[in-house]
């Protein structure tokens, strides 16, 4: 009886498999179409004239490359905002990593009392978003004279990404056997040398992943910059883009053209690290 059933199952398999394949591809195609739709809108409406935006055509009636040119080169250029974003995101990433590496090293390689407390601090720092703390952050920045400054923004972005830095880096360090470092210590390296010459080069892929991830987070940050930076010269792209979001009317074509410049570079960066990042995020704390 059971034997019969099994052969039946085997006979049904090819047909069944073909049907499930069809469903699989259908699902994947719909998934891609839906996911890419807003990007299609962003790019294609960026090519339209102001009048064409109102039309019911799905594609632009005329492809206006000059919109993309306009947002870069006119007197309302977004290049300054893009440069500000690069500066702020790089600064935040640098500080987050420089503070994160020694902390992650201590967590991965040393035993000491208070380890659990430090881990708890990291978790709690993630419970707050900068938005919930806006009022407090503003006070602190005022106290240090850092309000309306890009350095203040850099410090906040670095601090709120510190958890990711420590988390991802300690996961990376734990994945590397300590034997090489121990051997270098026996050969006369100081601890610092064993870190910079042995551990860090081996951890390079994980460090690059962490760098890019924090860079993207800082690049995409909106709320703190929106509240803290009032000087137009210092605004990052996420805030500066509001240039085309006027009081009376929104210049959708220019807004979208500028959005494309703000989006595409980080999407490409993200695709490069996606594989490493996810395993790092989920395993960083689990491995031991």
């Amino acid at each position: 009886m059971s034997k019969k059933k099994r052969t039946e199952g085997a006979a049904r398999k090819p047909g069944q498999r073909r049907i499930s394949r069809v469903f699989l591809y259908l699902f994947v195609i719909i998934l891609c179409l839906v996911t890419l739709y807003p990007y299609f809108v962003m790019v294609s409406y960026g090519f339209r004239s102001q009048a064409d935006i109102m039309s019911e055509n799905v594609l632009p009636s005329k492809w206006m490359w000059e919109n993309y040119w306009y947002v870069l080169t006119s007197n309302r250029s977004i290049v300054r905002y893009l440069l500000n974003s690069i500066f702020i995101a790089s600064g935040a990433t640098g500080i987050a990593i420089l503070c994160g590496i020694p902390a992650a090293y201590a967590l991965a390689r040393m035993n000491f009392t208070g380890k659990k407390i430090f881990m708890a601090i990291i978790v709690v720092s993630q419970m707050f978003s900068p938005v919930v703390l806006l009022v407090g952050i503003q006070r602190i920045l005022l106290t240090f004279g850092l309000n309306n400054s890009d350095f203040g923004l850099i410090l906040i972005d670095a601090a709120f990404n510190q958890a990711f830095a420590v988390w991802l880096l300690q996961g990376t360090f734990r994945g590397i056997s300590p034997e090489m470092e121990q051997a270098s210590r026996i050969d006369g390296c100081t601890r610092g040398q064993s870190i910079t010459r042995v551990l860090l080069p081996m951890a390079a892929p994980g460090i690059v992943t962490t760098l890019i991830f924090i860079f993207i987070n800082a690049w995409n940050e909106y709320t703190i910059a929106f509240v803290m930076i009032s000087d137009d010269k210092l605004k990052p792209i996420t805030v500066g883009i509001n240039l085309f979001n006027g009081y009376n009317m929104i210049e959708w074509n220019h807004l979208f053209a500028a959005s494309v410049f703000a989006t595409i570079p980080v999407v490409i960066l993200f695709m490069a690290i996606e594989k490493n990042l996810v395993s790092g995020l989920t395993s960083g704390g689990v491995k031991s």
Partner: protein, 302 residues
């Protein structure tokens, strides 16, 4: 002999101190930029303020009374719960399915993985602005598309009520949250030994049984982390609602974060804004703790 002992002791002290020195920069950064603001917010939630925003003295729980007594607060709180629950639950479900699909072999899988990453890497404020345009009644892209496809014959108003706006905001929230869950699921799945499935197949297990008996229990640790992070992020999310409705009309689409922003920076209610911060934090602590306790019961060491 004595000198040697002293040196040994000195080295011992240094050994004990080293880890803390390594932690110091990270610790200082977080204390200055995260924990000082936390303390400031707690302190300010119990102070009286002048119109100009200067502290006038101890207020006890007056600010909390005012916040909780406000006619808008319960609605805003309810919105926050709906927003968080809907976005986290639905994106977790969709994300698990997508993660499982991405784990099967098919042509073009790499391409699909790259596409799924897009919303994760895009600034929320830009994503939300695009969707605001898409659903616009007069010249939105969705109306244009549906008209072209012949699915409707005149432009629809997709946002006829505050509830409709809020639903669209939830949709955008799901849209940007799904990739994270998908990839966490995927990474959990890839660590599962395929021999388990083979053994189950030989024993006659069907797809559903394999999913619920093998797949889901084994990806639970990665999903627990993902879900806790999502609860926190979604709860605290500001840009989507701000870009699409600014919480209007009359706070009908506000969540605690946008409400808090308006209290602090538009109405100048410093004390009440700080009180909302404290309440949000306490609420988030309770929810996370309940979730961890409830989910961790299975005996996982995640």
């Amino acid at each position: 002999m004595k000198r040697e002992e002293k040196a040994k002791k000195k080295r011992g002290v240094r050994q004990v101190l080293t880890p803390y020195l390594y932690l110091l920069p990270s610790f200082l950064l977080m204390v200055l930029m995260v924990f000082l603001p936390i303390i400031t917010v707690f302190y300010r939630s119990m102070q009286k303020f002048s119109k100009a925003g200067k502290i006038k003295g101890y207020a006890g729980f007056d600010n909390f009374d005012k916040v909780l007594g406000s006619s808008k607060f319960m609605g805003v709180f309810q919105n926050t719960v709906i927003w968080t629950l809907a976005v986290v639950l639905i994106s977790t479900l969709i994300g698990i399915i997508i993660g499982m699909v991405l784990n099967t072999e098919f042509r073009g899988r790499k391409l699909v993985r790259a596409v799924v990453v897009f919303p994760w890497a895009t600034s929320l404020i830009i994503q939300a602005s695009v969707w605001k345009f898409i659903i616009n009644t007069d010249h939105g892209a969705l109306n244009a598309l549906l008209l072209k496809l012949g699915l409707i014959d005149s432009a629809r108003n997709f946002t006829s009520s505050p509830a409709a706006w809020f639903a669209w905001e939830i949709w955008v929230g799901i849209f940007v949250t799904v990739p994270f869950v998908s990839f966490c699921t995927l990474s959990g799945l890839q660590s599962i030994d395929s021999a388990l499935y083979e053994a189950a197949s030989i024993d006659g297990a069907n797809f559903t049984q394999k999913t619920f008996r093998i797949t889901l229990p084994l990806i639970k640790p990665s999903l627990t982390v993902a879900t806790v992070l999502n609860i926190i992020y979604v709860f605290n999310s500001f840009p989507i609602i701000w870009a699409m409705t600014k919480g209007d009309p009359a706070s009908k689409t506000d969540t605690l974060v946008t409400y808090l922003y308006k209290l602090a920076f538009i109405n100048g209610e410093n004390g009440q804004a700080a009180a909302v911060s404290v309440l949000s934090f306490l609420f988030l602590c309770i929810v996370s703790a309940i979730y961890m306790a409830w989910y961790g019961k299975g005996g996982d060491n995640a």
